[in-house]
Symmetry: C2
């Protein structure tokens, strides 16, 4: 017998009462996610990482050496699962775990496009390694790699095979629907390779409707976390798509969407997800427990609310043989809460171990030592000069017809066409009218390749701001009212091997190093939150008044937000996916 | 692009309205199994084997060459799925399809222990080949191979790997709980090998309760089709086990169990299954459509009833990415019924093709040419003699203390201990008191090995009856009031290479050849039903008055029915799994 078989035999022996269990929680109400019942006087007993038995009478497995917790009538629910997270974002998995685990989250499914874009397959494997042997479990999706950059578009088939062969990879990550419909030759083979492994296609169908939504569903996409109205949820559920109701730092849609509960008879395909959380939100609000509580506060039945963060997620990912419910043989992921209406973790058990009690972590996360390759991803070959951001005009006349990115909200942009004055062969910006420069410099795919454009409505009156964590690309993104400050920002990022920098009048006003993939700070979350506030303040001092200037900046390369975006290849028209130049022919 | 990618691209083009679909069903009510809604004015359009779009407006995909069916307000539901069938039983898959398909069943998951026991891995592969390219789809489970015979117990690990590598194998077939708990060293490694492939463990927990049910669940078993009371259903659902409510020829439990609908808030893990049907029942009552109608008649909501035969089954087997619901990208398995309360198939579409209309099959099943090896499985090395069934007594005294199988019902037996007279060194039967001989002769595993015992309460006054389709073993089973007739039965089966034979007074009274694996007749179902009636009449003429004497006979070797069974190795005590002798020491 190998080790697994020994574990299986021990589990059987405990369940049969032939040997005592490890951890028993007795005298609990049990929220049974399978039947939808809330049952009194229930107990659960574990053996190693798994549940040996669960029911009204598990006294027969309690013996010497069994740790017994008397729940005193408190309610036992399964550990929460976040089905769509972005863990490779600004802080390490260890810091993530510190705050996620204590609230009762025991499983997280994360995207991996961020390390892939900047560090390739080795970066993803190192990132996955950082998720292993933590107090809670992580699963991940392989990156579909929708990008504004044609050079970065679509995961390499060999890399995809490597990832699909990993047990913790449960599917292909979000593939934005427009890109899929615009580039079927790129994405249908990626989809087919994924489903050939029996793995899932995570979706992203923001705003899709009618025949476009039908077509995207026909591609085999199985989930969407983008609906912002109950009707959009209904449209997707009817097509068999699991809908992840998003309540996180990017958007908070739960209150608006909650009406769906009265629109369908079956909620098994409804899921709660964060789609990523900011350091400040994670510290202040917690993680999945906040979502479940809010769902209840929005009128969802507590059983349904808990199912949306446990069984439904597990079933979606085909992980319900292991997680998502409290039953013999399943992983012992358990959360004790005061009552079914009050989602506050009193005890959190993960893989049979008590990892948190009364909001305090009892098991420290593991700090991962990233590979040197993962810490050296800003491969811009030479120091950037202010003149690199020049906008030479080679045509006749003294004005140039230009496509300009205009901010509509803090995330949505549109294309405006402006005739701009040309002086000494250079197209001029107009700070007084909030028209400044924006540039994307590739740092990994085609290192050093740079495209400079114009942006209106960013609010920047002086200085510059840059970050190496630009969405969906391997770019450093920089917005600046001054080319010298732009160069200074980018060069400082190059020196730090990643991070965010705000400069003004030729000096650094605020900065944060993000040395892991040029994406992730290794600071403790508490310090990171403070540092991010200094960044925000420094941006505000330049005139940038968005709620989160850094988020606004890094989303400008994003391939999923309308309408005019930027990458190292040029401007990208979201409607048709085409790359276009600054100047209109 | 390969063929699959071409199909995917075509599907996308149809969904987008760039080319016309193949088959459109318009003006239907649609029972949406995902949301639990019944929606009016819906349409569905296919492309090849799949659904391209489904919703209120699919007119944009109808063009020249699109076949259009106006549903006239009739109700469209997904094709039915039977999750636990025994297709390798008395008639061919082709004959099965004839009757299953016309009622709206488009997918069947079948066990394979029957061919494995008698023809090994090659037998299973030939059986699986017989299921391919039929008008409906088949999936299968690998045999766990619980047997009364120790020689046959447990599937060979290499054979298991071969089968788990097949796409149509969705898991491990039913493993009776007593055997698993009695032989963990045999079955836990088989379970581990199966789950390592990400495949399911089908269960069989008849009568299990308390710590034994907990222990069986802890082994990772994911389903049970054996509950006979609503409380047993509830016990299993609470442990996360999918419960298949059985309504077939072996047992009919639906009416008794239907009360479960009022006991749980969530029915997603309830499934309807036949667990096999007899030729006569299949012809007279139909297949899954009968179960769904009966569920409705028993008070289940029509949406729930349909979910129990479609989406819930698909989700259990992890096949819901392909089947179980009506949505873009899913296989076009559709059934048009008059209204949600009336489960009568007006049109059946399977993989995009109309295969039946108004109860008439429009696509003929394929007749499979079985391999010679599959047609020569009765490997009893020599002619059987009446003296082979002698019961020599080697002890002292003129009586022998014997374990005797006594019939309690037509399936359940018990052990009785009788002191029987010995004459000329032979233990004597007592026909006047309904005590006759029973023997099991192995025909494949240890060919020719024979064990003879005694049976009480079978009703046989003269002659003998034998069959080569004895459950869970590779035995020919024979019960006889006369050793000459017993030998005649077995020899005739040997000549026919399988079948059932009734003999009386030295001549064959009735017989049916079952040449495929010694299990399956190649007769058309209509003829088979007539022939089986002649067998039943011939058995009745001998005094055997069970409702289905053949079923009673072949179940006597079964490893899942209490309490005293038989195989070529001896008598088997169901309670502890031990093989014991006729004579008590």
């Amino acid at each position: 017998m190998n080790e697994n078989e020994n574990e299986n035999k021990k589990l059987l022996d405990v369940a049969l009462g032939r040997m005592p269990g490890d951890l028993a929680i007795v005298n609990a109400r049990l929220l049974n996610v399978y039947t939808g019942e809330i049952l009194d006087n229930q107990s659960v007993c574990t053996c190693g990482e798994r549940i040996a038995c669960a029911g009204p009478d598990v006294g027969y497995v309690i013996g010497d050496g069994t740790t017994v917790i008397d729940a005193g009538g408190a309610t036992l629910i399964p550990g929460f699962i976040d089905g769509h997270a972005h863990v490779a974002a600004s802080f390490t998995a260890g810091e993530f775990v510190k705050y996620a685990a204590r609230g009762g989250t025991t499983t997280i499914v994360t995207e991996t496009m961020e390390p892939y874009a900047v560090a390739g397959i080795n970066g993803v494997l190192d990132f996955l390694a950082s998720l292993k042997d933590q107090p809670i479990k992580f699963f991940a999706t392989a990156p579909a790699m929708v990008s504004t950059s044609r050079a970065a578009m679509g995961i390499d088939p060999t890399d995809l095979e490597t990832l699909l062969g990993q047990e913790e990879i449960v599917g292909l990550g979000e593939s934005y629907w427009q890109a899929v419909l615009q580039n079927p030759d790129v994405f249908l083979p990626i989809f087919a390779a994924t489903t050939a492994h029996g793995k899932l296609l995570e979706g992203h169908s923001a705003g899709a409707r009618g025949n476009k939504l039908q077509a995207y569903a026909a591609c085999g996409v199985s989930s969407c976390h983008e609906p912002i109205k109950a009707e959009e949820v209904l449209d997707r559920l009817r097509l068999g798509i699991y809908v992840m109701i998003r309540e996180g730092s990017i958007r908070r849609d739960l209150a608006e969407i909650a009406g769906i509960k009265d629109m369908v008879a079956d909620t098994r395909r409804l899921i709660l997800t964060t789609d990523g959380v900011s350091p400040a939100d994670l510290m202040a609000m917690g993680y999945m427990e906040y979502l479940v509580q809010k769902a209840i506060d929005c009128g969802f039945d507590p059983v349904t609310a808990v199912q949306m963060a446990t069984l439904n997620v597990a079933e979606h990912f085909g992980l319900d043989d292991r997680i998502g419910g409290i039953a013999p043989g399943k992983t012992a992921d358990l959360v004790l809460i005061p009552d079914p209406q009050t989602i506050r973790a009193m005890v959190v058990v993960s893989r049979g171990r008590i990892i948190a009690r009364d909001g305090k972590l009892e098991e420290a996360p593991r700090k991962h030592a990233f590979a040197a390759e993962s810490l050296n991803t800003i491969r811009i070959p030479k120091t950037v000069e202010p003149s690199d951001f020049g906008l030479a005009y080679t045509g006749d006349g003294d004005t140039a017809a230009c496509r300009v990115i205009e901010m509509v909200t803090d995330l949505v942009t549109r294309e405006v066409r402006l005739d701009l004055p040309v002086t000494d062969g250079e197209i001029k910006t107009d700070r007084a009218n909030d028209l400044v420069k924006i540039a994307a410099i590739d740092r990994a795919t085609v290192p050093g390749k740079c495209f400079t454009g114009l942006i209106k409505g960013f609010g920047m009156r002086s200085g510059a701001m840059a970050c190496s964590a630009a969405w969906d690309t391997s770019c450093v993104i920089v917005v600046g009212a001054d080319e010298t400050d732009m160069a200074l920002c980018v060069n400082r990022i190059r020196d730090m091997q990643g991070g965010v920098v705000v400069c003004d009048a030729g000096r650094v006003a605020a900065e944060l190093a993000m040395p892991v993939f040029g994406l992730i700070s290794e600071l403790p979350l508490e310090e990171l939150v403070v540092r991010l506030k200094t960044i925000q303040q420094a941006a505000a001092d330049l005139g940038v008044s968005f709620p989160d200037p850094l988020l606004t900046l890094i989303a400008l390369t994003g391939a999923a937000i309308p309408f005019l975006r930027i990458c190292e290849e040029g401007l990208v028209n979201f409607k048709d996916g085409r790359t276009v130049d600054l100047m209109i022919d």
